[in-house]
């Protein structure tokens, strides 16, 4: 079996570090496939238990020598550890989690599917390819009267032009982007509009606010302003608010004075 990792030739910090040869593996499934192949049996006859143990041993070793593994690898390790326990320990009758067999089948299926896709990729690149094995007319002439557009542009051209433009502008004019702080007035306005939609039923505040909060960065300021605004609106009788316990969602509904003009 090839070495699964190599030692970093240089240590650039005070901590001794090992570097996984990430270039060698395309994620945990790829590593598992590699391990499975090293069992020298086909995937249908593979011992999933042995495979899980091998993988876990790999992760343990990596940790002992303080290799930082990508999260994908650790998630797989946790899943395999669970699979292992399912395979080894008889399940209690009322257990409705997946059985060890089901989990093992899932893993085998994913490995087979990945392997099949790799084989498919191989047969694809080995086909006779245009520009390498077969050739188009080297000196095309132009056909007149083509009703299709006089311009050539692909969706990719369009999208990459747009993405590049927006990115360029985002860097140079960050200030022009939408304001990131909600004013109290803005929050009031939004809440009042929401009250129109709520009707009489209790609704969680957050549910509505989320419609206006598309980025995590805005969330805090939106919640703060909206909360302050909702207290103000409750005092004016435009809405009623309720919370069943600390940290529970804040519920609100239309208040007795909801219909009063706002402007």
């Amino acid at each position: 079996m090839e070495p699964l990792w190599r030692e970093a030739s240089e240590q650039d910090g005070p901590e001794p570090a090992l570097v996984i040869d990430v270039g060698g593996f395309e994620g945990p499934l790829d590593l598992l496939l590699h391990l499975a192949r090293s069992q020298k049996v086909d995937l249908a006859r593979i011992s999933v238990l042995a495979l899980a143990e091998q993988y876990l041993a790999f992760v343990d070793t990596a940790r002992q020598v303080r290799i930082e593994l990508a999260a994908d690898y650790l998630v797989m390790a946790a899943w395999l550890a669970y699979l292992k326990s399912r395979l080894l320990i008889p399940q209690p009758p009322k257990d409705d989690g997946p059985s060890g067999e089901e989990m093992a089948a899932t893993l085998a299926f994913r490995l087979k599917r990945l392997e099949a896709m790799r084989e498919a990729a191989t047969s694809l690149v080995n086909r006779n390819r245009l520009g390498r094995d077969v050739f188009a007319r080297g000196a095309p002439e132009h056909i007149g009267g083509d009703r299709q557009s006089v311009f050539t542009a692909s969706l990719y051209d369009l999208l990459s032009a747009y993405a590049a433009l927006r990115q360029r502008q985002a860097v140079t004019q960050v200030t022009i982007e939408k304001r990131q702080v909600w004013s109290l007035a803005e929050a009031r306005d939004i809440l009042m509009r929401m009250v129109g939609e709520i009707g009489g039923g209790w609704q969680a505040l957050d549910q509505y606010l989320l419609r206006y909060m598309t980025t995590p960065a805005e969330r805090a300021t939106a919640i703060a302003s909206a909360f302050a605004a909702s207290l103000e609106l409750a005092r004016e009788g435009r809405i009623e608010i309720r919370q069943t316990g600390a940290f529970e969602p804040i519920l609100m509904r239309r208040g007795p004075n909801a219909g009063e003009g706002e402007e």
Partner: protein
Amino acid sequence: MSFPQDHMDETLIDAGEAAVDRGIALEAERLAEALIFASAGPVSERFISERLPAGVNVRAVLMGLKGFYAGRGVNLVQVEDHWAFRTAADLSFMIRTDDAEARKLSRAALEVLAIVAYHQPVTRAEIEEIRGVQTSKGTIDVLMEAGWLRFRGRRRTPGRPVTFGTTRDFLDHFGLETIRDLPGLEELKGAGLLSGRIPPGFRIPLPLGDDEPAEDEDPITFDDIEELGLLTPGGQADE
């Protein structure tokens, strides 16, 4: 004008008097031939039919041409409903030049390309589920830039994720008439390997001791796939 008459077929024309119609059919064939020959890229059947005399069965003309060129150094090939002339594949090694090297793809890009080709329409999340790893930036990008992948539409599920598919250029490049001609497609489908769900009855023996023989009645085994010719020796995914 001299034409080899033997490959012409009565079916080229829908109806009419033999002599006149034969003349029309020959003219139609010459026109179609010239139109496709002039273009480096595949030409649509519709484009051709708009330029043929009314009443000519364009499909029959093209099939006739395809047969006529079948044994020659230049072949008429079909890519979906488009047609192109391409040099014959068996002459590859005689024509190949050093600068005519086909685009080299990374292993990751190749895998993504195959997954999209066989599973399309497919979302990015599904590609990642199959590969078991996040798709690095630049992988899909490279394939789209090559003109082989495209945004196909949106899945009608929550979040309406964008789906990817392959392009006609992809088919043209890999010498496929349609996506159904992908190598091993039917076998993979039959083995349940192109669906997100584990096929019913997909079980593997769980020999807790390593040396237990596999059960014979497994519906799908690796051997099956091998037998069906889906696996090339060595199992290498990259070139």
